[in-house]
């Protein structure tokens, strides 16, 4: 069992947040969510006709899990679209949590930093608890934090690419510079070792979807990510040794002739 994490005052046991898109069937989605051990489930509304409650059956299925819901604004391209959708989702799901996603580039689904920050300020002002999806740009993250976001979610790499942490250095910098923020790596992870690497860097949690949903066996992959996130967290807490160039035998070398010692 790992230590819990805090999201806007809520104590959450699992450090893995999971999405609800692209699974072969809703049943496999439910089984995968269960296997992931996640307590927070993200879901998108944009293409499911929220105005006519078109996705109601699907949303009820997800609500039935009894987990924290984190509605998202996936598919929005302007601050205005995202704000409207956030307001609709607050009404539909009775939660002031919102994963804010404002896309600036359609090809790699890169967030628009300016529109994201603009929407963040409006939504925080309206009482939302904003979980902004952002790039791994330190200044962008800093400004989101300064605006009042307690949770910040930089990407590992573009959504759905499975490339893992493209730039561990920038992520590590964000961790060092924003020690008070709850930091989540959101998007771009492909395999459990990517999640583990992010957790080892000191990130508080992982949000993913495609890596599990598109695996040949999503349920088993959800399990694998769960273990990786837990392993990464424990590794971070346990304080890793420093990497060094010179091999350092773990057994004593006393009595070994000096010419063998220098070769080692």
């Amino acid at each position: 069992m790992i230590d819990p994490v805090n999201f806007y005052g809520e104590t959450i046991n699992s450090r893995l947040l999971i999405g609800t898109a692209l699974y072969p069937s809703p049943q496999i989605m439910l089984d995968a969510i269960h296997a992931s051990g996640s307590d927070i489930i993200t879901l998108s509304l944009r293409r499911q006709s929220p105005k006519t409650q078109g996705g109601n059956h699907f949303w009820q299925t997800i609500k039935g899990l009894g987990k924290y819901l984190l509605p998202n604004t996936a598919g929005c391209h302007t601050a205005k679209e995202a704000i409207t959708l956030a307001e609709m989702s607050r009404e539909l799901f009775q939660t002031d949590w919102i994963k804010l996603e404002v896309i600036g580039d359609d090809y790699n689904l890169q967030p628009d930093p300016f529109a994201t920050l603009e929407a963040t300020k409006v939504l925080l002002n309206e009482g939302f608890k904003v979980f902004p999806y952002c790039t791994d740009d330190l200044v962008f993250c800093q400004k989101l934090f300064d605006a009042g976001c307690e949770v910040i979610m930089p990407w590992g790499s573009p959504i759905g690419t499975g490339k893992g942490l493209m730039n561990p250095y920038t992520l590590e910098t964000i961790r060092h510079r924003l020690p008070q923020a709850t930091l989540v790596v959101d998007a771009g992870l492909g395999i459990p070792s990517h999640a583990m690497q992010a957790m080892e860097l000191g990130f508080d949690a992982i949000l993913l979807n495609t890596a599990v949903a598109k695996a040949n066996d999503p349920v088993m992959m959800a399990n694998a990510f769960r273990s990786a996130v837990e392993g990464g967290r424990l590794a971070y807490l346990s304080g890793a040794m420093e990497e060094q160039n010179r091999a350092n035998p773990s057994t004593t070398v006393l009595g070994t002739p000096f010419w063998q010692q220098t070769q080692s």
């Binding site: 809703p26 496999i28 078109g54 996705g55 109601n56 699907f58």
Partner: protein, 349 residues
Amino acid sequence: MSHSQHKPIAIVGAGLMGRLLAWRLLRQGYKVTLFDKDLSGRQSAGFIAAAMISPISEAMAADIGLYHEGKKNLSIWQQWLTELNQVAKQSIDFQFDGSLVVSHPQDKALFDRFTLKLNQLAIDTVDFAHCRPETREPELAHFAEAIELLPEGYIDNVALFSALKTVIDTLGGQWVEQCIDNTKEALPSDCSMVIDCRGMGAKKALPALRGVRGEILRVHAPEVTLHRPIRFLHPRYQLYIVPRPKSEYVIGATQLESEDTRQMTVRSALELLSALYSLHTGFAEAEIISFSAGLRPAFLDNLPKIQETSQGLSLNGFFRHGYLLSPMFIEQTIQRISATLLKTELTAC
């Protein structure tokens, strides 16, 4: 007692399942009455669909079982369509000689993944082949590579619906245009069994049933010649272009977890049209025949079920697999009907 002496079997819902079931029952000598709010069938999921039969592609997206079951169903379809064409004296266009999978250069990773997964799922190596696309479809030479999936094809479903109507009439099936909201209240009491094939119309009776929105586009493109279904690998959708007689093509389909039945959205139209244009520039001057949207009836596992009801059976939840899985489900349904009626007779004796 011969089947014709039974009271008629009421089939509620005259879409793909209702029609197929009526035909197969009638040819075994049962009496059948079909009920639907719209006997043209135009509102049914099976009519709106692109009517592809693609065991490999569907297995790749969902469950390996669809590959094995789909292949068996394909051979039944072959017999059924041959028979229908003879009996109905119509020519339903169908082609089961394979489909082609291609991808844009930027989605090469998806193509490689598709190849890898064919092996991981142990798809029989005689069922697929890597090829130069122009060796199968001469007008697709601009794609670098393709995978041919052999046990796949399509049926012209508009012609199929019409042929089934003809053959049901010929065999003495009855049609009643009536909306059956509740099968217990609305049906005549002199039927032996009620088989519920209403699809989304049965939502009240089947709370676990949900609708999955699909949007589809039909065009007339005389400048394009494609013979087989072409599947485009795309990170978010299963896009395909399916030929129809007289240079028509069906392009589908979005898959949205929504029960919204409004017309197609601009975004979906843009996605389908851009897929079409990027496959073949000859589609630029094609005439758009229709944009349609419909709901696929599905259960949580996206697999169909035959369930007992107080009046008979319910056959529902075909999701995107109506054409892929229907023949064997129809045969199983008939076996269960036959067993139930026999039991009723024995009890009566």
